[in-house]
């Protein structure tokens, strides 16, 4: 049992404890709140906000994974190869666009609430999935492809049975990057009235209540670290299962 494992278990236990009974942590946070101000955020149930935050991120992640992988497959097929250099430079250019801006520009199109956040999350999640899937699809060694062709596999079979499994670790790596930026963008989504944990941080910043700020930011940070850890573990499993 190493330090990192103990730290992770401690993190999970404290997040669970905080969500189940936030008042236990009141003495810890008391000194951060202004005199007479509430210490624990009570305008909404913290567990519910956490569920909404994670739900929004997961929904967007599923959509961006689907689109990103399909796009990466399309531009690596013979009929789509002409668009490969262009889609590469588009993905590069897309990364120069800050997520906040995507969020802000989506508002006039769909109004305030969860929708603009979802759009920004999906668009921003496609890029890392696409780039990593592209790298992963290029990872299949020539001898594996030749062997597949020699077995008489069709292109679709080769893609499904050889190329995609070999690309899985890279796709999961892209998904992890998308998840990390997704948790962050969902937080900022509170600025356009999406119901996420960002609400707690923003309420704290607006009322100068550091106790709110710390409990919101701490929860978000813990969730991001745990999600990234889980996806990293999946990525390692996939790399072990399909070694190149």
């Amino acid at each position: 049992m190493n330090v990192a494992f103990v730290a992770r278990v401690a993190l999970i236990v404290s997040v669970a404890a905080f969500l189940a009974a936030p008042s236990i942590f009141e003495p810890l946070l008391r000194s951060l709140a202004p005199e007479g101000a509430p210490v624990i955020y009570r305008h909404a149930n913290l567990a519910e906000l956490t569920a909404l935050h994670l739900g929004l991120t997961a929904l967007a992640l599923a959509a961006s994974a689907l689109v990103g992988v399909i796009l990466a497959i399309s531009v690596t097929q013979p009929w789509g190869r002409e668009f490969l250099p262009l889609s590469r430079s588009l993905a590069n250019a897309g990364q120069t666009f800050p997520p906040v801006a995507v969020l802000a520009i989506a508002v006039p199109a769909v109004g305030f609430g969860a929708e603009p956040t979802l759009i920004a999350l999906i668009i921003y999640g496609i890029l890392p999935v696409f780039e990593n899937a592209l790298a992963g699809l290029g990872r299949a060694p020539a001898r594996a492809l030749e062997a597949a062709d020699a077995c008489g596999m069709t292109r679709a079979q080769r893609l499904r049975k050889v190329e995609l499994p070999l690309a899985l670790p890279a796709i999961l790596a892209g998904l992890r990057l998308a998840a990390i930026s997704g948790v962050a963008t969902a937080t900022i989504g509170s600025a356009v009235a999406a119901r996420t944990l960002g609400e707690v941080v923003f309420a704290g910043l607006a009322s100068n209540n550091l106790a709110y700020v710390v409990q919101g930011a701490g929860l978000i940070a813990a969730l991001a670290i745990l999600i990234s850890d889980a996806l990293l573990a999946m990525e390692r499993k996939a790399a072990e299962a399909f070694p190149v």
Binding site: L86, S89, P99, V100, P108, I180, V201, V214
Partner: protein, 390 residues
């Protein structure tokens, strides 16, 4: 080339598929979509205005003819330089034409009405900008030439804005009353992004060297920095408010140099922490990737460890380090917009103000320069990395 690819290439020898798609998108955008939007004031929804309604007949006809001619050029297999010129010419012409729309659509004494681009304009503009950037890739320019091309395009865009031809557009109407604030936020944004990356370099290069020479240090150091990088920006900014506020309250010298709980200090510290991981990991992995025989040859010729590091490993590692620096800088320029939420300033100020007022043009006033800055930094560092690799 497989048989399928060969036949595909032969089948489309007269048409350029990407160009055909871009030309189709651009022309249908101009013909069917609204060229401009007309808003009674800066907050209300815009009404769509078509190309021929938005521009005077000669201007509209000239735009349509130029776009059609350029569409034919890019749809056929033509030399890359010609495609680049066609793409840039139409993009510039569209902007100039849009600049004439306000005087055609709105009475001179109407100070409230706002004219901005409609989605038909955006489709055509982006399609031709895409053709131009694709042409630059096809030209395979040397790094220095790419930077020169970027400088030319930026200078052209700057001249267009400075000429006053676009002054009546909604974006510049947001800019005009905020010109002073815009440039001071621009300075803050540059300080936050370039300053924190510079700070990360000063701290990160020694740390990366330490990682390179001591594997026992590398694991925990990179693990800690990875965890930091995972924390969402607004959460990290917020979590730094308390300790920095405490420092400012309890350490007179800290508040004397301008450290306080909110404002630029927590943002600067957070952005530096974020940039540390790519720098440290980049230095360590770039040094680890130097070919073993080069290092051994250096040792054999009597170089000390230090000389080998400076004269052999560092030059060989430079391109990879510059590549990771590119990603870091682009990421930091984008993240600096979020810093506005904790009162640090920067272009994010306009984005969040615009969000609050539902004034999309104000959002764009913050977003457009941020994207331009990130894009320029990305092209310049990309060229630097390629030049270092030669």
């Amino acid at each position: 080339m497989t048989a399928i690819e060969a036949s595909a290439a032969a089948g489309s020898s007269t048409f350029d598929r990407l160009g055909l798609l871009a030309a189709g998108v651009a022309i249908s955008g101009l013909a069917l979509g609204p060229f401009a939007t007309l808003k009674p004031n800066r907050i209300l929804d815009g009404a769509p205005v078509s190309l021929f309604a938005a521009l005077s007949p000669p201007v509209a006809a000239a735009v349509m003819l130029l776009a059609a001619a350029a569409a034919i050029v890019v749809a056929l297999r033509t030399p890359a330089l010609l495609r680049l010129l066609a793409g840039l010419a139409v993009a510039a012409a569209l902007l100039i034409a849009l600049g004439t729309a306000p005087s055609h659509l709105v009475a001179r004494d109407d100070m409230l009405a706002r004219i901005g681009p409609g989605w038909g304009f955006w489709l055509a503009f982006l399609a031709f900008a895409l053709v131009a950037s694709d042409a630059i890739v096809r030209l395979r320019l040397r790094p220095l030439m790419r930077v020169a091309a970027l400088a030319l395009v930026l200078a052209g865009a700057g001249a267009l804005f400075a000429s006053g031809a676009l002054d009546d557009l909604s974006l510049l109407k947001e800019y005009a009353p905020r010109a002073q604030a815009f440039w001071s936020e621009a300075r803050t944004h540059l300080l936050l992004s370039f300053g924190s990356v510079a700070a990360a370099l000063t701290l990160g290069v020694p740390l990366g060297l330490a990682c390179h020479f001591s594997p026992r240090f590398e694991g925990p150091a990179l693990g800690f920095l990875t965890a930091i990088q995972t924390i969402p920006s607004i959460a990290l900014f917020a979590l730094l408010i308390a300790p920095l506020g405490w420092l400012a309250a309890n350490l007179p010298s800290a508040s004397a140099v301008g450290i306080s709980g909110v404002g630029i200090a927590p943002a600067f510290v957070a952005l530096t922490l974020y940039a540390l991981l790519p720098v440290v990991a980049g230095v360590a992995s770039a040094l680890a990737s130097t070919p073993r025989d080069a290092v051994e040859a250096a040792r054999a010729s009597g170089m000390t460890e230090r000389q080998a590091l400076l004269l052999v490993k560092a030059p060989l590692a430079a391109p990879r380090l510059l590549a990771s620096l590119r990603v870091t800088l682009v990421q930091t320029i984008g993240l600096a917009t979020v810093a506005a939420l904790i009162g640090a300033g920067g272009f994010g100020t306009f984005v969040f103000q615009g969000m609050g007022q539902t004034a999309i043009d104000l959002v764009l006033l913050g977003a457009v320069p941020t994207v331009a800055l990130a894009f320029a930094a990305s092209v310049a560092l990309d060229a630097a990395a390629e030049a270092a690799a030669r």
